[in-house]
């Protein structure tokens, strides 16, 4: 994966670059909006990590400029702690995701993977999803596993849809809060954990074809297209 990281804070750039390089990705770095624009027009990146506050321009202006030029490279916006309007402004400008600094590297890489996947999928997202023997129809709002219909609560349905669209990839708790619940704050209650546990109960328990939803300790969740051993 080819990543451009734009941030005037050297520490952040180095941390991100080291982690990504160690994971086998190519990384380019920029300190200012101007050099970022130059790099983005010279080379096609898979994803751009862009700080909201750059010394010469706002990150949101950079995204707007990229989109205006027809560059649809997925952009992950980095925002500061406590910045309430960051999400709205970033998304309005055309960013695809946002992340509050500082972040765990796992959080960043999970989001970059999701963005890269979305960016590479050029066709319009299909309304019927298949993962392993699980089928979800976003139009009729029905879920089946191996032909057995599964009744889900509305939020459980959205949660499963998100997991299926990002199958075989790590999905963090914050990603779920942002994308499934549309919360830009972190509730102190175990709202994600509880819903995952109920969803797992309905989707995984009692099916001979194995367990699909996996918990990655301390990092997040994963919906496998190759199920683990069945749980009966």
């Amino acid at each position: 994966m080819d990543v451009l990281i734009v941030d005037d804070d050297e520490e952040t750039r180095r941390h991100v670059a080291e982690g990504l390089v160690a994971a086998g990705h190519q990384v380019s770095e920029s300190r200012t909006a101007a050099s970022a624009m130059a790099q983005a027009s010279a080379k096609r990146f898979d994803v751009i990590v862009l700080d909201r506050l750059l010394p010469d321009r706002e990150g949101t202006q950079v995204v707007r400029e990229l989109r205006r030029r027809g560059d649809l490279t997925p952009v992950l916006m980095l925002t500061a702690v406590g910045d309430v309007d960051a999400r709205v402004q970033g998304i309005e400008a055309g960013a695809d995701d946002y992340l509050v600094k500082p972040f765990a590297f796992v959080e960043l890489s999970a989001r970059l993977m999701a963005l890269q996947r979305r960016g590479s999928r050029q066709d319009t997202p299909s309304s019927v999803l298949h993962v392993a023997d699980l089928t979800l129809d976003a139009v009729t709002r029905t879920v089946r596993r191996g032909g057995t219909p599964i009744a889900l609560q509305p939020r459980e349905f959205v949660l499963l849809e998100y997991l299926m669209r990002n199958c075989d990839q790590l999905v963090t708790r914050t990603m779920l809060l942002q994308n499934v619940w549309k919360y830009d704050f972190d509730p102190q209650t175990s709202i994600v954990e509880t819903h995952i546990s109920r969803l797992r109960h309905k989707v995984d328990r009692g099916f001979a074809s194995g367990e699909l939803i996996e918990t990655v300790r301390g990092e997040g969740y994963l919906l496998r297209s190759w199920p683990a051993d069945p749980v009966l």
């Binding site: 804070d9 520490e11 952040t12 941390h15 080291e18 982690g19 160690a22 500061a80 702690v81 406590g82 910045d83 309430v84 309007d85 709205v88 509050v100 600094k101 500082p102 765990a104 590297f105 609560q153 509305p154 939020r155 619940w181 549309k182 919360y183 830009d184 704050f185 972190d186 509730p187 102190q188 209650t189 175990s190 709202i191 509880t194 819903h195 109920r198």
Partner: protein, 456 residues
């Protein structure tokens, strides 16, 4: 009826009335004093005149009686002012219309013969008498009736003047002090607005530059000072959080890099993990502080629109229901449909989530938690009620402040800021936030009476 009674009672206790009554009382005392002095001197003069008239009459009569025969002395007009009597040394009446010889001089009731000698009547006379050289006693009495009437008339006139004066003083005093005190009431109204948290409210200072204007100016300056001090305090914590964001971010990045560089068996990894968790805790607190500060700055209001609060509350309740039930509480809901408000959906969602989290944190397992929404007089009313220990009366204001926790538990990050964030969100939406006793438990009522908010 009740309202007018209450108003009457308020009028009775009002400063304007008291001031007016005080002035009227002073006026009454002054009038009484003036009356006393006048009456006393008029009365003295009248007495003197009476005595002089009687004495003149006496000496005149004494001259004529000494030379005339008793029978030739003419009887005075019985209805007139002057009366006299001539008595021998044994007290027998020789002439005049005074029937019996009075024993002394001065004011006394004396029997005066009627015209034609048919009986007598009692008159209050001022009596003087003298013994003539032949031993007979001459008595002259002046009727006090007219003089007394004059004094009485004078008293009545003073009383009427006094009553009218006191009433006029009351009314005038009331009107003038009312005008004055209305300005004091305006000051009190602004002061209570400031007490309610609208710190930017100020008094209008008039051009007269009288005492009230000077007071208003001083109060405005005082409130300006309080506002800047409060903002300064708020700013300090925000500034600290802001300033420490970057070094903390660097710290977290380095800790994470260091941990990644360790072998999985390295026991120091546990310490690393704990350090990262601590940094995350600090960042969560700072994040909440900065979020509150940003909400308080009011910029977010630009993103308000009319939204279906019934839908929003139902969605949040559906999301938290499994959590609430897994934590061993009953969730009761009473949500009426079609209730809409003007606001920011994300913030209102956080508000409700925070209230429910707060209730979960402070109540024992097995208790019930109620979320209710209805419209009252066109205003949406959202109620979150728990059946826990509640909050003592005097502590309720305190829990809305930042970093205040009544119990000493410092377990979860961000706790102690939850209700402060709720307060910041309700302030931004200009809605009422009330904490009350649910007997037992805490009831939090949010009333959306947003008159000033324009729809956008």
């Amino acid at each position: 009826m009740k309202a007018s009674e209450r108003k009457g009672a308020v009028l009775w206790r009002s400063g304007a009335f008291r001031l007016a009554a005080f002035h009227a009382a002073i006026f009454a005392v002054l009038v009484a004093l003036l009356f006393g002095v006048t009456w006393w001197s008029v009365r003295g003069y009248v007495e003197q005149q009476l005595h002089a008239a009687a004495s003149d009459e006496l000496s005149e009569l004494a001259g004529s009686v000494a030379t005339a025969a008793p029978g030739s002395i003419a009887s005075p007009d019985p209805d007139g002012v002057e009366h006299f009597g001539l008595f021998d040394h044994a007290g027998l009446r020789l002439a005049g219309d005074i029937a019996l010889q009075p024993t002394a001089t001065g004011d006394m009731r004396v029997a005066v013969l009627r015209a034609g000698g048919q009986g007598h009547r009692m008159r209050l006379l001022h009596v003087v008498q003298t013994r003539l050289s032949d031993g007979r006693q001459l008595v002259v009495g002046t009727d006090r009736h007219e003089a007394d009437e004059l004094l009485e008339q004078l008293g009545r006139a003073f009383l009427i003047a006094c009553v009218i004066g006191v009433l006029a003083a009351l009314v005038a005093g009331f009107i003038s002090s009312r005008r004055y005190l209305r300005r004091v009431e305006a000051i009190a109204a602004v002061a209570s607005e400031i007490l309610d948290g609208r710190l930017e409210t100020r008094l209008t200072v008039g051009a007269r530059n009288d005492e009230i204007d000077q007071l208003s100016a001083t109060l405005n300056a005082t409130w300006q000072r309080i506002q800047s001090l409060l903002e300064g305090m708020r700013q300090v914590s925000t500034d600290i959080a802001h300033e420490l964001r970057t070094p903390l971010a660097h710290l977290r990045f380095r800790l994470e890099s260091a941990r990644e560089a360790m072998s999985p068996e390295n026991p120091a990894r546990v310490a690393m993990d704990r350090s990262i968790a601590d940094v995350d805790h600090v960042l969560a607190v700072f994040g909440a502080l900065l979020r509150i500060a940003q909400i308080q700055s009011g910029q977010r209001r630009a993103g308000f629109w009319r939204l279906d609060l019934s839908q929003l509350v139902s969605a949040v309740v559906a999301d938290v229901r499994p959590v609430v039930e897994d934590e061993g509480r009953q969730l009761r809901i009473d949500i009426r449909g079609g209730v809409s408000v003007v606001g920011d959906p994300t913030l209102l969602t956080q508000l409700l989530v925070n209230l429910i989290e707060n209730a979960l944190r402070h109540t024992p397992r097995g208790t019930a938690l109620t979320v209710a929404l209805h419209a009252e007089d066109g205003a949406a009313v959202l109620i979150v009620e728990d059946a826990g220990p509640g909050i003592p009366d005097d502590q309720r204001e305190r829990v809305l402040q930042r970093l205040v926790r009544l119990d000493a538990s410092r377990g979860s990050p961000g706790a102690g800021l939850g209700l402060a964030l709720v307060k910041a969100i309700t302030d931004l939406h200009q809605v009422e936030l009330m904490l009350s006793d649910a007997n037992p438990g805490l009831r939090i009522t949010i009333r959306f009476s947003q008159r000033d908010l324009t729809e956008q």
